[in-house]
Every structure is written in structure tokens, then in C-alpha cells.
């Protein structure tokens, strides 16, 4: 508990030392900030009301009798009815007033949420069981590219994402940036992100979507526009042909084994669209929709036995010899 | 505890009609449940109709004749239905008997017409959402037709036995009450299935 005390303090609005990169209390986006101040206002007002009720209960407890008093007609006569009606009436009026004020505050806070809905989106986010497909739009086909489970956005620029689903309902939620929005098959939803601080923020699917709902993470990287542009340019490029011999062998294995049926690596003959685009896999921080940090060991473990890492995942195990496995791993991790 | 008698109820009758009887209220309760079911099914139809850019989803509206004949039959059946209710309240056994036979006959004819309606529907329930919802509406109402006719058959049989007396007249009255509900529930469904505008 002691170790986690900082997290509790975050809740109270203080700074924290722990890694709360998926927390509504650690805001880095305009929408998250608006919601957080509204949440604090509600908490204080409602907390005071709750406290008042508890004080009334405390008075009741103070007035307790040891044994029941015997009944008389005065007890049934409801004396003091007028005064009590006034008390209840004014409390009721106060409740109505509080509720009206809170409703008004909420309506003010929701304006920006609905305002930009009609705007066109530059990024399409498509939910799959259990990973995120990210498609960046562009003026020409060569400007467009696809990646997965890692969304980069420039700091200080509002970005609208369109939210779609390829199978069941998912929900996009990066608490540090904004509230959530569902991805529903056949429905066009969208959400606006405006990051105010550079950093990496974690998100996770928030609508139960089946076996691996718990492992459907997403990383949002907010960066200054120069580095964002650089990242974008790098992502647009096709995968560089491998120069080292083991990586070349890995590329050979990748396209000749079932891997290529599901995954795309632009610049090669691998063009499957069932699984995530791996063109620049090596540039991402995590693997398996944020299950493990990406490194040679975790990637090899994933390829060798995806179900050992993420039971029930839709990727079938592919039989590879030890040298094939290390070659494919080397190839993929080199796809920066 | 000591007691003091303030009223005597021994002169009250052992059964009653309409709102004085438990059964009438029970029937009303089940009508409320089923009526809510009908209202929700109608709501589903409207939701699907307005949620799609075109309606009825590539089909034309079904041929209305079987439904129209059924509607006329059901509306006409209200006349003997009112009569059987009155006869029951007057404990007129002979009249109740022939009216029940007539109403059961009408009910069986109505079920037969419902099957003609199903037969004439062009979209199947699994063609698309339009097919699904019109089959659902007609099916939901069909279960009520069949339930009431089943009830009427048993009650008619009962009225021809030695049990056809006393409280059974109240049962006849309640059965007539339920038939009003079955007819009333049909009218909005008839409109939706056969006359709802093409969007």
C-alpha cells in the first residue's frame, strides 16, 4: 500500500511518482482536463451533501433510546407536522437547485465534445479482436499508411479520429487525453484528441469484446510536430530491404511461410490484411497490443507461441525451426 | 387481542363480473404485459425503418388482401363478442353456447387467414431485417390469436358440460375481454405491415 500511496495522492490532485500513464487523474489533453475539473466540482459538492446526511444520521444515533418507549396517541398524531413539512420542503428545493446547477455545469462542459463531430477525420482507427488498426489518411495514396497499436499525434493540434470496428463493439479510451467512444460495426463514430503535453499515454479497450479484452492496449505518442512529421515520413516509406544475411533469410521465411497470408510488409510480397501491418514493427514500443515491451526475446516468444503470451489470440502458431525463428525475429525487429 | 365485529359480509355474492373479480384484473395485467411487448415490437419496426436509408429494404410492401380480410373479420367479430359478454352477464346459457361456437369458428378462420398471410409474404424472415421484423410482428400476434382461440375451445367445451353455470359465466366474460385486446393489438400491426409508407 505504502508504495502506492502516491497514486492515491494523484487522486487528490497532487503530483505523483508512479507511472500513471492510463489515468484520468493525470491529464495531458484538453478534454481530459475539462472532465477532470468537472469531476472535482461534482465530487466536492456531492461529498458535502453526503456529509450532511451522515451528520443527520449521527444525530439520530445520539438520540437513541435504550428500550422502546410505550406508545401513546400523541405519537400517532404526528405533532410538528407543519415544521417538518417545511424542513423537508426546503431540503427538496435545495436538492432541486443543486441538481439544476450540476446539470448546467455538465451541459457547458459537454459543448466542445459534440461541437467538432462533423469535422472530417485524418486518422481511422479500426478495432479488431484484440488489436487496433491505425490508418493515416493522406492527399495521395503514397501519403497513406497503416500501422497498429501505436498512434502518434502532434502536440497542440486537434486531431479527429474516426472510429470503426471490423467485428464486435470495442471502445477507444485513453484516459489521459479524453473520455471514451465506442467502435461499433456499421456506425460512424469519431473522437477528437488534443494533446497538450508530449509523452506516451496508454489506452485500453473499454467495451467487453471477448476472450482477450483485457489485452487490447494501445499506446498514444504525443510529440512535437517536427518529430511527428519525421515519424510520419518514416512510416510512409516501404520497408527497407534487409542487408544482413540472417535478416534476408528471415524475410525469405516470412514470405514463404503462412505469416504473409495475414500480415502486410510494404515493399515485400507479404500483403495479408487479417493481422496488423508490420512494415515498421521495429519502431513500435510494444507487441501484441501492448502485452509485452518489444525486444528480441519477447518477439521470438510471441512468434514461437502467441497463445502462451495471449491465450486465445487469433494468430495461429506457425512451426518454425530454431534458426528460422531467430532469422524472422531479427528481420522483423530490424523493420524500423 | 380482543376483537369487535364491525361488519358482516355473509350476504355478499360468491363471484362477480368485470372489475369486481380478481380474474378480470389478472387478465388486464397480462394484457398490459403483452401490450408492452406489442408496443416494443412496433418500436423495433419503426427504429429499423428510420435507421435504414431505404425501407422496406429492397422489397415491396406485401399484398394486403389476406390481412385486410382478416382485419374485417376481426372487427366484425366484435359484434358477437359484445353479445356473448352480455349473455354471460345475464346467465343466458343457450345464447352463450351458440355465440361461443360462433366465436370459436371465427377464431379458427382468423388463424387460417394468418397462415395465408404468412404464405403470401415475399421476404422470408431470414432475407433481411425487414423480413425479420414483419414475420416477428405477425408471429407475435399469431401466438395471441392461437392462445385465445385455444382458450375459447376449452371454454366452449366447458359450457356444454355440467360445469356450464355460475362462475363460468364470469370466465366467458373475461374471455370476451381478452378478445378485445387481441383485436385492438392487431390494428397498428396491420397498418405497419401493409400500409406503412415506403421511405
Amino acid at each position: 500500500m505504502i508504495r502506492r500511496l502516491p497514486c492515491l495522492l494523484v487522486f487528490a490532485g497532487a503530483l505523483s511518482g508512479c507511472r500513471d500513464w492510463q489515468s484520468a487523474a493525470n491529464q495531458a489533453g484538453a478534454e481530459a482536463e475539462r472532465i477532470w475539473s468537472l469531476t472535482l466540482t461534482f465530487t466536492i459538492v456531492l461529498g458535502l451533501i453526503w456529509l450532511a446526511v451522515m451528520i443527520a444520521v449521527a444525530f439520530v444515533i445520539r438520540r437513541r433510546r435504550r428500550a422502546p418507549v410505550s406508545l401513546n396517541d400523541a405519537m400517532l398524531a404526528d405533532s410538528g407536522h407543519r415544521r417538518n413539512s417545511w424542513i423537508v420542503g426546503s431540503l427538496l428545493a435545495a436538492t432541486a437547485l443543486t441538481v439544476a446547477i450540476l446539470t448546467a455545469l455538465s451541459f457547458v462542459a459537454q459543448r466542445p465534445l459534440f461541437a467538432g463531430r462533423a469535422a472530417s477525420a485524418g486518422i481511422r482507427l479500426i478495432g479488431h479482436q484484440w488489436w487496433w488498426e491505425v490508418r493515416y489518411d493522406g492527399a495521395t495514396p503514397s501519403d497513406m499508411f497503416t500501422t497498429a497499436n501505436e498512434l502518434h499525434i502532434p502536440v497542440g493540434t486537434p486531431i479527429r479520429l474516426s472510429l470503426e470496428s471490423a467485428d464486435v463493439i470495442h471502445s477507444f479510451w485513453v484516459p489521459s487525453l479524453a473520455g471514451k467512444q465506442d467502435l461499433i460495426p456499421g456506425h460512424n463514430n469519431s473522437i477528437e484528441l488534443l494533446a497538450q503535453k508530449p509523452g506516451a499515454y496508454r489506452g485500453q479497450c473499454a467495451e467487453f469484446c471477448g476472450l482477450q479484452h483485457a489485452h487490447m492496449g494501445l499506446l498514444v505518442v504525443a510529440e512535437p510536430s517536427e518529430s511527428f512529421e519525421k515519424w510520419q515520413a518514416a512510416q510512409r516509406a516501404a520497408a527497407a530491404a534487409p542487408r544482413e544475411s540472417d535478416r534476408a533469410k528471415g524475410a525469405q521465411v516470412f514470405v514463404s511461410k503462412p505469416c504473409a497470408l495475414c500480415h502486410t510488409i510494404r515493399g515485400t510480397s507479404a500483403g495479408g490484411t487479417v493481422g496488423p501491418d508490420l512494415t515498421h514493427l521495429g519502431s513500435r514500443a510494444y507487441i501484441g497490443a501492448d502485452v509485452l515491451p518489444l525486444n528480441v526475446g519477447s518477439l521470438a516468444a510471441w512468434i514461437a507461441d502467441p497463445h502462451g503470451v495471449k491465450p486465445g489470440v487469433n494468430m495461429p502458431p506457425v512451426h518454425l525451426g530454431a534458426d528460422e525463428l531467430s532469422a524472422v525475429t531479427a528481420y522483423l525487429i530490424g523493420l524500423k | 387481542m380482543k376483537t369487535r365485529t364491525v361488519a358482516d359480509v355473509s350476504s355478499l355474492p360468491p363471484y362477480g363480473f368485470g372489475t369486481s373479480a380478481s380474474t378480470w384484473w389478472g387478465t388486464l395485467g397480462f394484457c398490459a404485459i403483452e401490450g408492452t411487448g406489442f408496443a416494443l415490437a412496433i418500436g423495433m419496426y419503426l427504429y429499423l425503418a428510420f435507421n435504414n436509408p431505404h425501407w422496406p429494404l429492397g422489397f415491396s410492401r406485401p399484398v394486403h388482401w389476406p390481412g385486410t380480410v382478416l382485419t374485417i373479420l376481426l372487427l366484425l367479430s366484435l359484434i358477437p363478442n359484445v353479445m356473448v359478454d352480455r349473455a354471460a352477464r345475464a346467465h343466458d346459457l343457450a345464447k352463450v353456447r351458440w355465440l361461443l361456437v360462433l366465436l370459436t369458428g371465427i377464431g379458427i378462420l382468423a388463424i387460417a387467414l394468418r397462415f395465408v398471410e404468412f404464405y403470401m409474404l415475399i421476404p422470408r424472415w431470414d432475407s433481411n431485417a425487414y423480413g425479420s421484423i414483419i414475420w416477428f410482428l405477425l408471429g407475435l400476434h399469431a401466438t395471441h390469436l392461437i392462445t385465445d382461440v385455444g382458450d375459447s375451445v376449452v371454454l366452449t367445451a366447458l359450457m356444454f358440460t355440467k360445469h356450464g353455470r355460475a362462475k363460468r359465466f364470469a370466465d366467458v366474460s373475461d374471455n370476451a375481454f381478452y378478445w378485445y385486446f387481441v383485436v385492438a393489438a392487431w390494428l397498428p400491426i396491420y397498418y405497419l405491415v401493409y400500409w406503412f409508407p415506403i421511405l
Binding site: 484520468a24 444520521v57 404526528d78 407536522h81 471477448g210 | 380478481s22 408492452t36
Partner: protein, 641 residues
């Protein structure tokens, strides 16, 4: 009043007029008693017998659902734990939710209603006693069906609201989602039947003189609940039936590709699902009213205001359902309307709470275990109500929706708002049902364990939700900072579990060795305390004549009664709806085996129809045959009654 009926000849009947007390009691007990042996047990239509069965069954389901909760807390106590895998975990939380909502919370409230409402309105049985027996068997069958499926690894795994397309034909493979849908059918048929019985009992079977405003608040609460069941539960039946049709015969209600809509399912489900919360909560408010009235030794202040608030809450509850769907991308105007409605419901709820507090403050409160649980209710439920106001706000909801904040919120509302009053009510009415008092000393322990355990288990979940933990995750990673609070929550859950163990122990022990209670151990004012404890099969020797909302407090010298009711046939007094003037003496059904037979036929039809659509056809015919047996008169006497 039909003149013809009044003119009919009446059978020579022995009436209760002028019989001495001993003979009267003996004759009534003979007429209303059940047959001996197992046959008597299977055929009884006595609301008390069936109510007790309902209660016992609901408590068994509570214990089973609690076991699942314990497994959930074990799994979540540490990150990346392997107590259970994802497949089993998904079944566990689904069955936990479905079990608690459909097999415990609603039925346990209806069980109290079934047992108490006829006693509180001063009659001898619930209306349509055979329907009550039938509804119990159907409920039992539905519960056994769910749990057997779970044990056979075909328990539903799609969450208790089973959203499509996850539960639809394409993604919900196997029979798991069908089990969910058909379990709904079982429990809803049973609930709706009891609701109709309750309404007719309250409307027409009240003791003479009991006007609408003199109806005890608990009975009012059950009446409002019954109406809500009638208008809410058809929605979930329509939803689950269409889901089965989509899965079984290929309809397209929820298939976007063929013009259906996944959102339509959510509307249908929540049109039921939100009122459902109030279907559980409103009976509990009735319990709170009854307990507060008795232990503050005065009638509840604002009896009529509380009735208005119950009715108002019941109606507003139908205008809130969309606040479960704020994240689906609704238009602003529509969503805002539901914010206003959700906020508005704070007003009737507040009204009730203020009336209770004034009652306690102007009465002479005596604190016993039932009242302790009511204090726990104030603490927990009011807090849950406050977070309820928070989730009514669209921006706040978009942040906390589907997180552990919401898990905390609805456990505060449901456990604090319904289970605490329910445990208090059990302590309160246990002496009436069994004739013995529960241990007060264990009761105090029970309360403190439950109160501390509950808050330690569920308060941290608010913070976990804010820290980003979504609900329905079978595990979480080490790098998100949720491990400490989860461990704390799990520790609290086991204290809470201990409190329930103590509660069950106290019940079982007190039923055998508790001190004898006598008819009115708490000195309460409503009619159920007029009957002996436990009440005889005929409830009351004489039908009381009511002049006050707390008749036993108002008529302390001698009780006014009416006479002229048959003692050798089961006869009950039917009164007018508004002012309860005696209207007819109606027959109340005798014991019958047909409810059980009909329930077996219905069970066969329901279960078979998840495998073949034709089962709906032959199954209906089967049920029809049993209903003919049910309604066909067994004697000439029955025609007259």
C-alpha cells in the same frame, strides 16, 4: 354489482360468525392447511410456503454468486495472476452478474413480497395461488438451468447484458449466449407472474377499510415494483427472443449488414435494464420504511409524500436507459435529455431520504440490528447515489463508463441500496417467518463485518476506475499501477464474505434455538404482526377491519373485524380498489399439482427451443395441454366459488 350473481343460490356454508376461537382456528387450519407428506409439499399454493421456498432458493443463489465473486477477487488480487484463465473468467463474471440480478436480487424481493404482502394487507392468500406455485418452479428451473450450464462449461460468457454482435450468431459460438437468453425467459416469466399476483392482491384483496393511503409503505413499494416489472421486463424478453431468433433461424434484427442494428439491442436491453435497478431498489426502500417506522416508534413522516416519491421514481426510471449508452455516439439533444432525466431522479429519492431522517429525528429511535443495517444503507446508498449523479453527466460518464468506477457505483447502489436493507429486513421479519428471534449479538458482528468489508472492497474501485482500470478484464499488467488497490479490495471482499457466512450461520442457528418471538416482538404497527409467528396457514383467525396505516398502533384496546367468511371452503374477501369496501367473497384455489406439471412442460419447451425452432411449436402444444388440466374444474363446487 351484478344482480344476477347476487340472486344465485349459495351453498350452505359454515361461517366464522359465532364460532368460538378454538373451533374457528381448528376449522380454518383444516380448510387452509396443506395435504400431508411430499404430495402436500409439491401441491401447496400457500403464499407463505412458496415465499419461504423463494427466499431459501434466492439465498442459495446469493451464496453461489458470492463464491464466483470470491474467485474474481482472487484472480484480480495480483497482476497477471493465473487463478483462472480468460475463458473461465468471462463465464464467471457473466454468471455472477446474471445470477445476482436475475436469480437473486429480483426474486428475493419478490419472495418477501409473496410472503408479506398478503399478511400486510390482511388477507389469507395471494391472488392466483397456483400461479405463484408455477412461478416458483419456473424460477427454480431457470436457475438450475444456468448453473448446470456453467458447470458443464457452457455458461454464458458475454457479460450480463450480452451485447451483440459479441453474443450474436457470428461471434457467440456454441450455446453459451443461448443459455443466457433462455435463462432470461425463465426468470422473467416467473417475475411477471408474481407481479400480476401482487397487483391483484393489493388492488382487490385488501382487508376492508384499508384505503389506498393506508396501505403500508412496503406494500406500496412492492406495488410500484410490480408495475415496473410489467412494463420493463417485456423489453428484455423481446431482446433475448430476437437474439435467439438471430442465432437459431437466421433473422437479422441485429445484423448491420442486412439492415439490422446492434444499437437496437442496447436500447431494448436498457429499456429493461435501467428500470431493473429500481425494481431491486424500490422494494428495499419499502423495507427501510417498515424498519424505520417500527424502530423510531412513530408512523413514517410524510406517508403520502413517500408514496408519491415511490410512484415518481418508478415512472422516471423509464426515462433513464440511454445513460448507459452515452459512449455509443448519440446526438447531443437526445443524450442531454437523458442527463436531465437521470439528474431528476435524485429529487424523489431525496424526498424519501428526508422523510426517513425526519421520522428518525422526531421519533424515539431504538437501535437494533435491522436499524443498524438501515444506517449502513444511508452511508453506502447515499454515496452510491452521489456517484450516480456523476455518471448522469455525459463528460464524466465518458471518462468513467465501463470502468471500475462504475463497478463501484453499482455495487454501492445495489448492495448498499438493496442488500443492506434486505439483511436488515431478514433480521426484522425472521421472527415472523420462523417464530424465533435471530441473535442480536451475532447481528451486530454481522453488521460491522459487512459494513467494513463492503467499503474496503468497493471504495478503492472508484479510484481504480479513475486510474484507468476497465471492467471485465480477467487480468491487468504490472505497469499500470493498479496492484495495491486491487489487493486491498480483495482483502475487503473476504471480510464481506465472512459477514455473509455469519449471516447464514445466524439464520440457520436461530431457526432452531433462537428465543421464541411471539406475534409482535418489535411492537410494530402493521397487520403482519397481528398473525401468530409463524402465521397459521389461514394467516388470520378473523379478517381485520382497517382504520389506520398502522392498525395495531391505532387500535390498541380491541381490533375491529368483519365476519361472515366461510370456514369450510377457502374463501377470501374481495374489496373495492380505492376505499376497500367489501364487494364479493371469492374462492381461493385449493392445492394443485398442475402448476408443477405445467412448469415441467414449460421447462422442456424452453430448453428444447434453443436447439430446435420446432420445439417452440410442440412445446407450446405441450404447455397448452397442461393448462387445460390446470383450469378444468375438478368439482361442481368450484363453479360456484
Amino acid at each position: 354489482m351484478p344482480r344476477a350473481a347476487a340472486a344465485m343460490p349459495r351453498p350452505a356454508n359454515q361461517r366464522d360468525t359465532g364460532l368460538d376461537d378454538a373451533e374457528l382456528r381448528e376449522r380454518l387450519a383444516y380448510t387452509w392447511g396443506r395435504r400431508p407428506g411430499i404430495i402436500g409439499w409439491l401441491t401447496t399454493v400457500d403464499h407463505k410456503e412458496i415465499g419461504k421456498r423463494y427466499l431459501a432458493t434466492a439465498f442459495v443463489f446469493l451464496a453461489l454468486g458470492g463464491l464466483l465473486a470470491a474467485i474474481i477477487r482472487l484472480q484480480l488480487a495480483r497482476p497477471e495472476a493465473h487463478v483462472v484463465g480468460p475463458d473461465l473468467y468471462n463465464q464467471i463474471f457473466t454468471v455472477h452478474g446474471a445470477n445476482m440480478m436475475f436469480l437473486f436480487a429480483v426474486p428475493v424481493m419478490q419472495a418477501f413480497s409473496m410472503y408479506l404482502v398478503p399478511l400486510m394487507v390482511g388477507t389469507r392468500n395471494i391472488a392466483f395461488g397456483k400461479v405463484g406455485a408455477f412461478s416458483y418452479w419456473i424460477y427454480l428451473a431457470g436457475g438450475v438451468f444456468l448453473w448446470v450450464s456453467f458447470v458443464l462449461d457452457i455458461g454464458p460468457d458475454v457479460g450480463w447484458f450480452a451485447y451483440v454482435p459479441l453474443s450474436g450468431p457470428q461471434y457467440g459460438i456454441g450455446k453459451r449466449a443461448d443459455v443466457w437468453a433462455q435463462m432470461i425467459t425463465f426468470t422473467e416469466v416467473s417475475s411477471m407472474a408474481v407481479a400480476v399476483e401482487t397487483i391483484v392482491t393489493v388492488f382487490k384483496h385488501r382487508a376492508p377499510g384499508m384505503t389506498l393511503t393506508q396501505i403500508p409503505l412496503f406494500v406500496w413499494a412492492m406495488l410500484v415494483t410490480a408495475f415496473m416489472i410489467i412494463f420493463a421486463m417485456p423489453a428484455v424478453m423481446v431482446a433475448s427472443t430476437s437474439l435467439i431468433l438471430d442465432r437459431l433461424i437466421g433473422t437479422h434484427f441485429f445484423n448491420q449488414a442486412e439492415g439490422g442494428s446492434a444499437i437496437l439491442f442496447q436500447h431494448l436491453f436498457w429499456f429493461f435494464g435501467h428500470p431493473e435497478v429500481y425494481i431491486i431498489f424500490i422494494p428495499a426502500t419499502g423495507m427501510v420504511s417498515a424498519i424505520i417506522e417500527t424502530f423510531s416508534r412513530r408512523p413514517v413522516f410524510g406517508h403520502v409524500a413517500v408514496i408519491i416519491s415511490l410512484v415518481g421514481t418508478g415512472m422516471l426510471a423509464f426515462g433513464l436507459w440511454v445513460h448507459h449508452m452515452f459512449a455509443t455516439g448519440l446526438p447531443e439533444l437526445g443524450a442531454s435529455f437523458f442527463t436531465i432525466m437521470s439528474m431528476l431522479i435524485a429529487i424523489p429519492s431525496g424526498l424519501q431520504i428526508f422523510c426517513w431522517l425526519v421520522t428518525l429525528l422526531t421519533g424515539t429511535p431504538v437501535i437494533r440490528t435491522p436499524l443498524l443495517f438501515v444506517f449502513g444503507f444511508f452511508f453506502i446508498f447515499v454515496l452510491g447515489g452521489m456517484t450516480g449523479v456523476m455518471v448522469a453527466s455525459i463528460p464524466i460518464d465518458l471518462q468513467v463508463h465501463d470502468t471500475y468506477f462504475v463497478v463501484a457505483h453499482f455495487h454501492y447502489v445495489l448492495i448498499g441500496g438493496a442488500v443492506f436493507p434486505l439483511i436488515g429486513a431478514t433480521y426484522y421479519w425472521f421472527p415472523k417467518i420462523t417464530g424465533r428471534m435471530m441473535s442480536e449479538r451475532l447481528g451486530v458482528w454481522n453488521f460491522w463485518l459487512a459494513f467494513i468489508g463492503f467499503n474496503v472492497a468497493f471504495f478503492p474501485m472508484h479510484i481504480l476506475g479513475i486510474l484507468g482500470m476497465p471492467r471485465r478484464v480477467y487480468t491487468y499488467q504490472t505497469d499500470v499501477g493498479w496492484d495495491g488497490l486491487n489487493l486491498l479490495s480483495s482483502a475487503g471482499a473476504f471480510i464481506l464474505a465472512a459477514s455473509f457466512a455469519l449471516f447464514f450461520f445466524n439464520m440457520l442457528r436461530s431457526a432452531r434455538v433462537g428465543p421464541l418471538a411471539g406475534p409482535n416482538p418489535w411492537g410494530a404497527g402493521t397487520l403482519e404482526w397481528l398473525a401468530a409467528s409463524p402465521p397459521p396457514s389461514h394467516n388470520f383467525d378473523h379478517i381485520p377491519f382497517v382504520t389506520h396505516a398502522t392498525p395495531l398502533w391505532a387500535e390498541r384496546e380491541s381490533l375491529p373485524i368483519v365476519t361472515g367468511i366461510s370456514v369450510n371452503t377457502r374463501e377470501i374477501l374481495i374489496t373495492t380498489l380505492a376505499d376497500a369496501r367489501p364487494e364479493i367473497r371469492e374462492a381461493s384455489p385449493d392445492s394443485s399439482i398442475w402448476p408443477l406439471i405445467a412448469a415441467i412442460a414449460t421447462t422442456i419447451a424452453f430448453i428444447a427451443s434453443i436447439f430446435s425452432p420446432w420445439a417452440a411449436v410442440w412445446g407450446s402444444a405441450l404447455i397448452g395441454v397442461t393448462l387445460v388440466g390446470w383450469f378444468w374444474p375438478k368439482s361442481m363446487k368450484e363453479d360456484e366459488e
